[in-house]
């Protein structure tokens, strides 16, 4: 993988230190200004705690956890049988034997990371779709806003609480898979494998947070929880079912003849890559597969010159992360975008009782 001058700048330690030195005091000022705006520190905490306990006690979360736990067990089982059958292939990926737990499948069920890519949106949507509108329909929102708390606490605590629940779930699952792997395989993960699994977990949390924020936005926008749930599911279905269809149509229409110039073919490949990347689930699956399969060396189209002299071998974690940096920032940016949308919509609204 070629490292451009710009990418190199991001890699040096000095750059980050300088950035941090610049950002931290600003953040600190912002925080103290926020605190001075009148809220008492413990309030945010107790609101988050209440939201978390609401989540944990609700049937919805119990059902979702059960569902995800089942898929986790199922895919773990299939990956274990696949590992048993495959034996050693002499492939480079064998150096990362432990990661097979997350990626390998005997064909009866998709591997774990594909499952999360599929179920994650559902988890996010179902944790957020009635965040604000149900409070309003129960008449608790106007009572809540009559208390001495900044208005954005309401929406921030909803987000933080759901994020905590998701993080807890994913870390528990990942560690459970690692534990099961230890027992079944008798091989401990190497530090780099462990770090890869951790980054995969963090990435999954970001991905679910994206859908969570989208559904919180819908819950601010739509008065009926059913409508906002449906809107969230519609967006999810659009990106998993319809967008690939449309993209394929466009790609077919734009396919150049095999005798076209190399430049045309290269441009077409770029176009195809960009079109697919507009999907958040594609961003997620690209990022996860790169993180979990160290031999993935590039995601976009490569020219022959770029391939020249490359030794096929696994990438170190840092390089894999660098490779998925655009996908990662894209996901985080989308998450923030959804959060900002719901924040704006909520802050500007006049809240009447019921």
């Amino acid at each position: 993988m070629k490292i451009t001058a710009i990418q190199h700048r991001f890699l040096t330690r000095g750059y980050w230190e300088e950035q941090l030195r610049r950002i931290v005091p600003e953040l600190r000022n912002l925080c103290s200004a926020y605190r001075k705006s009148g809220a008492t520190p413990g309030v945010f905490r107790s609101m988050v705690l209440k939201e978390v306990s609401d989540h944990i006690r609700s049937w919805r979360v119990v059902i979702l956890m059960g569902l995800i736990l089942l898929t986790c067990i199922g895919s773990l089982y299939t990956s274990l049988t696949a590992i048993g059958n495959a034996g050693s292939t002499g492939n480079n990926d064998d150096l990362f034997f432990f990661l097979h737990l997350f990626t390998l499948s005997d064909g009866s069920l998709p591997p774990f990371f594909v499952f999360i890519g599929f179920l994650g949106p559902l988890l996010g949507i179902s944790l957020g779709f009635d965040a604000v509108n149900s409070e309003q329909n129960r008449g608790t929102l106007s009572r809540l806003l009559a208390q001495p708390i900044p208005r954005d606490y309401v929406i921030n605590t909803k987000f933080v609480a759901a994020l905590l629940v998701i993080s807890l779930l994913f870390f528990v699952l990942s560690f459970a898979v690692i534990g099961a792997g230890l027992v079944a395989l008798g091989v401990p993960p190497t530090p780099s494998e462990f770090m890869r699994i951790l980054s995969f977990t963090l990435l999954s949390i970001v991905y679910v947070a994206l859908w969570l924020n989208l559904s919180v936005f819908f819950s601010v926008r739509f008065r009926q929880p059913a409508t906002s749930a449906l809107a969230g599911i519609a967006v999810w279905l659009f990106f998993t079912v319809f967008y690939p269809l449309i993209a394929n149509l466009l790609i077919k229409a734009a396919t150049p003849s095999p005798y076209a110039s190399g430049r045309t073919i290269y441009l077409f490949e770029r176009f195809r890559f960009l079109l697919m990347q507009a999907m958040p689930n594609e961003l997620y699956s690209q990022a996860t597969s790169t993180l979990l399969v160290p031999s993935v060396r590039s995601l976009g189209p490569l020219t022959m010159e770029q391939m020249e002299g490359a030794i096929p071998g696994p990438l170190p974690l840092g390089q894999s992360l660098l490779l998925v940096w655009p996908q990662l920032t894209g996901l985080i940016a989308l998450t923030f975008l959804c959060f900002i949308l719901s924040y704006l919509a909520f802050m500007r609204r006049e809240i009447r009782s019921r």
Binding site: R143, S353, R354
Partner: protein
Amino acid sequence: MQSPTIEICNLTKKYGDFTAVDNLTLSIGKGEVFGLLGPNGAGKSTTILMLMGLTEPTSGTVQVCGLNPVSQPIEVKRRVGYLPEDVGFYDDLTGPENLIYTARLNAIPDKDAEERAFRLLERVGLDGEINKKVGKYSRGMRQRLGLADVLIKNPEVIILDEPTLGIDPSGIRDFLGLIVSLSREEGITVLFSSHHLHQVQQVCDRVGIFVKGRLLAQGDITSLARQLFAESEEQNGREYGLEDIYYRYFEGGERNEDNSDSA
């Protein structure tokens, strides 16, 4: 003279072309029970939202406890208890749990909160329902819990928006009695919005009649009655006087209410 607790000056709120509150000027002194009397859609709730800083006025100023709700909403909310119309609670929590949560939002330590919650529940007559989930409360019980919820932060002012809606007549009497005694004992200023003339008459020191966003008259009950009759005599035959408005908007509903009261 003491500066008034609530001071509203030329307050106007417009939603597009529709004027919800039109040039309202009003002041309410400390410890006073003020009744905002008006038909549905008169702009009472909008006025209250502006007092709480929950919506911004189009023009004019509001001062609550010497604070501006637009620029210092949190400070205002610390001092003012607001019971919204048709108040809601977390149905899966019990009454005391709901109150303690509100106390936490007001940064009251849990120990004090618990003690205060049980005292207030006793005060509003809900001490027998401590272990019941609020989802199983009746409408009247919820309303009384609402009053306890407003009081848990030790407010200087309480604002009640149609608090007697859905309570039976004897319940209303208790509820109103509670409000009056609170105001007398603890010097709490009360702003009471209602469309029932009879209830307002029972508890309020002063009344403002609010129709279509305008404050038509204000004063204590006797002077208001004098004002009503005097003006209607003057304007007789020319246009609708205050008395007509009074009959038109309140009397119809009030007669039924009186019957059920005496029954």
